[in-house]
């Protein structure tokens, strides 16, 4: 049994800040799904998402000394993930994903969908639709992906998004508007 499993998150953060790496390992285990999901939505590639997720946690450990005790770890690490992924996307010249949902990585390959276990047709349609939505997100420009991730999936207010991405508030609004317009168009077309 994992000896850290029942330990309070703030206690884990304090232990990790004191240099106890195993405590940080437990934080990684608790938040890896959130971080990996966010990055995968933004980059659209599982291997890239894995590499970036590891990089996020390694960098976050180095920056843990500046983390304010008492604050939740999840939103902070999600913001670190979005920021690092945006930087990675901007530096990367090549397109990150195919725009054809047929060629998009089959989602749910590593998941079990218990609700749909007896409805294979529904499973297929759901997976196909999910792939289309993921492809639509991944087709957005990097900054649009970042604001969509932070607003729609991390539920952050505009001001926090602006601070996280270091862009003006007006840019957050315009990026979100244009991103939703593009998503709406793409979803209507499919």
């Amino acid at each position: 049994m994992d000896p850290w499993a029942g330990v309070d998150e703030q206690h884990l953060i304090a232990r990790a800040q004191a240099g106890q790496a195993e405590a940080y390992g437990e934080l990684v285990r608790r938040h890896q799904a959130r971080v990996y999901s966010a990055i995968y939505r933004m980059v659209g590639d599982r291997q890239d998402a894995l590499d970036l997720s590891q990089e996020v946690f390694v960098r976050a450990y180095a920056a843990l000394g500046g983390f304010t005790p008492g604050r939740p770890f999840g939103p902070w690490i999600a913001r670190v993930a979005a920021n690092l992924t945006l930087t990675w996307l901007q530096r990367r010249r090549l397109p990150t994903v195919t725009l054809d949902p047929e060629e998009y990585e089959a989602p749910g390959a590593a998941r079990s969908p218990p609700d749909y276990a007896y409805e294979p047709e529904r499973v297929y349609l759901s997976a196909e639709r999910e792939a289309q939505i993921r492809a639509a997100i991944a087709a957005l420009p990097p900054h649009y992906r970042a604001v969509v991730e932070l607003r729609h999936f991390q539920d952050l207010p505009y001001e926090t998004i602006a601070a996280t991405l270091n862009i003006p508030l007006s840019d957050v609004k315009s990026h979100l508007f244009r991103a939703r317009q593009q998503l709406r168009q793409r979803m209507k077309d499919e």
């Binding site: 106890q20 940080y24 990996y36 894995l50 989602p107 997100i137 999936f153 609004k173 508007f177 939703r180």
Partner: protein, 185 residues
């Protein structure tokens, strides 16, 4: 009220309008089928995005993250230990050089006399020894290495073993203090 702009409708759907603007758009929507349709399309975008499930990573990321964190710390400690090892080697060499080179050059061993006159004499002697050492080293470079006397070999072996043992003790200490070897609470 005229039709709200797409930007205003988008901000309305996201709850980003002020109270007065929000009420005005709401009132307009109640009687405008076109804006209701546009809002429904926005609702679809929100619903579609919300339907994307969280995707767990294919394997636990913690071991890889901890290994990288440990590597970073191990690297620093190892470099520190290696620097100490190099410093210890230099200190041993400086300590052993006078007797070794003295024996090579037929000079007497330094005595543990710490009086100023003696230290001054030792410094002069050291200066001569360094000069002799350079000459001896040049001779070693040209002469067969087996020509080193037994005392020289013994001193060299002793210095090497001491440095090796001390350095490895430091390296092992750093290894045992790796973060990923720490115990749970």
């Amino acid at each position: 009220m005229n039709h709200p702009s797409p930007e205003t409708l988008d901000a309305y759907r996201d709850g980003a309008l002020g109270p007065a603007a929000h009420t005005a758009v709401e009132a307009h929507l109640a009687s405008c089928a076109a804006c209701q349709t546009a809002l429904a399309e926005l609702d679809m975008v929100y619903a579609e995005l919300a339907s994307v499930p969280e995707t767990p990573p294919p394997h636990d990321l913690a071991p890889g993250v901890l290994a990288r964190i440990g590597q970073g710390r191990w690297g620093l400690r190892a470099w520190g230990a290696l620097l100490l090892q190099a410093a210890a080697t230099l200190a041993l060499a400086l300590l052993l050089a006078p007797p070794l080179l003295g024996s090579l050059a037929g000079l007497p061993w330094p005595q543990p006399d710490l009086s100023p006159e003696r230290l001054l004499g030792d410094l002069r002697s050291l200066q001569r020894t360094v000069s002799d050492a350079i000459a001896a080293l040049m001779a070693i470079r040209t002469a067969p290495i087996l020509a080193l006397p037994p005392l020289g070999w013994a001193a060299l072996l002793l210095a090497g073993m001491s440095t090796w043992l001390a350095g490895n003790r430091l390296l092992l200490g750093a290894w045992h203090e790796r973060p990923d070897r720490q115990e749970a609470p």
